[in-house]
């Protein structure tokens, strides 16, 4: 177990004008489960690979347990990694795969076997130890890859989208298993994913990256409730938050005709308002919206529509309880809950209130 500290870590790839990872500073506590999340190509995997030592750090540095990792080879960092592809050695059995690192470290056969058995018990892999990766299902391979990481009892786990090759049902159950396992073992874990549901459900804290730049590091709840900018607001939450540019008049923003009082920067000309799908109320006053699509999910429904009489207006998403089921073509009058509206600067996209 160890703390991890990214100190302005930067990675530049040849031919790219902008760094793939741009001055990331990130403090990860001992035993913490931190999720790195962001869209494809945002630099989250590169950040993880820099921590594992598979990718050089061009500027800044990374500390593990307070030790500068510059010039330290991956094998000497005491970091275990679970790859997206699992990277299991196809010629070795599950047991040999799991014991490989232990044997490399000079551990005797009997002791390595014992350690593998312990890990296999936790992961319910005991009957599969003799099988080769080619004879295992995707979920079983994923567990062997996890087992290979935990037998080493490393300082840090690096997990690079380990669930992306599983089907939806298995992903949900494995998600919970990994989170529970991490809490049980207490090993500092950095987990990369592009799936915000994984990010929100697994980690103690979530770090959101965009274009190589760290946007916000916070608990899942705080990310959802107080996103620092429009990118985080738009990235976290499904369906996505409604972001609407609104002119400001007399200290109030005009959200498609519905007034929203502003606490700060009432002098700005324009702001961007963020309204989560569940932050609307349906009533007699507000924005009339022509319903274009209704997604019924049983307990709730998401309604998509545009302001009535403005077919080029912004598309709005509204979450409705079960009792309300409008039809396509209906007009629904909705108003934002003022206390739940996020206000962002129209130019920079940064949070104002």
């Amino acid at each position: 177990m160890a703390s991890v500290y990214f100190d302005g870590a930067t990675r530049r790839h040849k031919g790219n004008a902008r760094p793939s990872v741009d001055s990331v500073t990130l403090d990860i506590e001992d035993g913490e489960f931190l999720v790195l999340v962001g869209p494809s190509g945002c630099g989250k995997s590169t950040t993880l690979r820099m921590l594992a030592g598979l990718e050089p750090v061009d500027d800044g540095t990374i500390y593990i347990d307070g030790h500068d990792q510059r010039g330290v080879r991956p094998r000497d960092r005491d970091v275990a990694m679970v790859f997206q592809s699992y990277a299991l050695y196809p010629n070795m059995s599950a047991e040999e795969n799991m014991a490989f690192a232990l044997r490399n470290a000079g551990m005797g056969k009997a002791e390595a076997h014992q350690r593998v058995l312990e890990a296999a018990k936790i992961l319910e892999l005991e009957p599969l130890l003799g099988r080769k990766p080619g004879q295992l299902s995707g979920g079983q391979r994923q567990r062997v890859a996890m087992g290979r990481a935990i037998v080493r009892q490393p300082k840090v786990f690096c997990m690079d989208e380990p669930l992306s090759n599983l089907d939806a049902k298995l992903r949900v159950s494995t998600r919970a298993q990994i989170a529970a396992l991490q809490r049980r073992l207490g090993v500092t874990t950095v987990y990369v994913t592009h799936d915000q549901v994984e990010a929100m459900t697994m980690g103690h804290r979530v770090a959101v990256l965009n274009a190589g730049v760290l946007q916000q590091v916070d608990t899942p709840e705080a990310l959802y409730d107080r996103p620092v900018n429009t990118f985080v607001a738009g990235f976290i939450g499904s369906p996505a938050i409604n972001l609407v540019e609104a002119p400001v008049r007399d200290g109030q923003a005009d959200l498609l005709g519905a007034p929203v009082p502003l606490q700060q920067r009432a002098d700005a000309e324009r702001v961007i308002l963020g309204v989560r799908p569940e932050s609307w109320t349906v009533g007699a006053q507000g924005v009339p919206v022509r319903v274009e699509l209704v997604e019924s999910l049983g307990a709730e429904a998401f309604v998509y529509g545009r302001p009535e009489g403005d077919p080029d207006g912004p598309r709005l998403t509204v979450r409705l309880e079960k009792k309300l089921r409008p039809e396509v073509g209906d007009v629904l009058t909705i108003a934002p809950v003022p206390a739940e509206v996020h206000v962002f600067d129209a130019e920079s996209g940064q949070r104002l209130a």
Binding site: A52, L54, P74, R75, A87, Y89, P90, N91, N104, R148
Partner: protein
């Protein structure tokens, strides 16, 4: 925007719905594919039968005759040629030469080819030039290489002699007079010429290998030797298998270099391999029946080796 049509859940039905509109087009007659396959395969099969299997059968038939290549008729003599070959003292020498030459060329060219491929798979300055230089001899004719290496190994003014004399201060053996050294000479020449083949195939395999396994091994703390033996070599197994068969078949059939450099000598059979013996008996001694016998023996040896190789590799890949 028009509203989508109303769709309600279908009423329960007892069978498939009645067809609406034209039925979909189905694939052609079932034997159409067979005809296509036959049409594509037949020309090749015909050539294979005419120019490979028919001569093979003819060769086996001739091995039971006393045919002199200049004579119009051949007489059936049973297994006399085979008995003669097994009793000929030189046959053992020829077999041993073939074995040494083949094992050395297959082993060394594969090991060296892999080592060079691993080296030149790294990001090194000028690696493309070196890659081309290693591959170039493979496209030169064996006769030309043999001729050039005659000068390299010349005991009086050859490059080897010059280098040994200048840097090591030792004299070199007479590669043309001593049978053992003559075999070393033709083997070295053959390896030099064909190294590019194993090199280029291994290089392609290395470039297609899984980078994530290398990274996993690096994180798992594997030493360079364990990364090579436990992670890289198993990935290269199909390539190694392919090379072991093709290099073996090519090595056993080498003729040009031996013919140009030593003509099977020195001292009679110093560098004579099975193929060279076939040539010598058939076209120098005119004993075509006897030559056919040696060719048949060679065919059987290669057949057995290849079958064993395939079995062993199959087992290795399945386990």
């Amino acid at each position: 925007m028009t509203a989508p049509p109303e769709i309600s859940a279908p009423a329960p039905r007892s069978g498939p719905p009645a067809p609406v509109g034209k039925p979909p087009r189905r694939s052609g007659r079932p034997y159409g594919e067979w005809l296509l396959a036959a049409g594509l395969l037949l020309p090749n099969l015909l050539l294979l039968v005419l120019f490979t299997y028919r001569p093979l059968v003819d060769n086996i038939r001739l091995s039971f005759t006393d045919w002199n290549i200049s004579a119009p008729v051949a007489r059936y003599i049973g297994v006399q040629n085979y008995v003669a070959w097994f009793h000929d003292g030189n046959s053992h020498q020829v077999l041993l030469n073939t074995l040494i030459f083949t094992v050395a060329t297959v082993g060394i060219s594969m090991a060296l080819g892999l080592a060079l491929a691993m080296l030149l798979d790294q990001r090194l300055r000028g690696r493309n030039l070196v890659r081309s230089a290693i591959f170039a001899p493979f496209v030169i004719s064996g006769a030309a290489v043999g001729l050039a290496f005659q000068f390299v190994f010349d005991p009086n003014f050859g490059m080897i002699r010059d280098l040994a004399d200048r840097f090591l201060g030792v004299s070199v053996p007479d590669f043309y007079q001593q049978p053992g050294w003559a075999l070393v000479m033709v083997t070295t020449t053959y390896i030099w010429k064909n190294l590019g083949y194993t090199f280029v195939i291994y290089l392609a395999a290395l470039q297609g290998r899984r980078a994530d396994l290398d990274e996993a091994a690096e994180i798992d703390g594997a030493s360079a030797w364990r990364r090579f033996s436990k992670v890289l070599l198993p990935q290269l197994r199909p390539t190694t298998f392919f090379l072991s068969i093709t290099v073996l078949l090519n090595s056993v059939q080498v003729f040009d270099i031996i013919n140009v450099m030593t003509r099977g000598g020195p001292q009679g059979y110093g560098t004579t391999t099975l193929v060279y013996q076939v040539y010598r008996e058939t076209f120098v001694n005119n004993k075509a029946g006897y030559g056919a016998t040696i060719a048949t023996i060679m065919f059987l040896i290669l057949l057995v080796i290849t079958v064993v190789q395939v079995r062993v590799m199959d087992r290795g890949m399945n386990s």
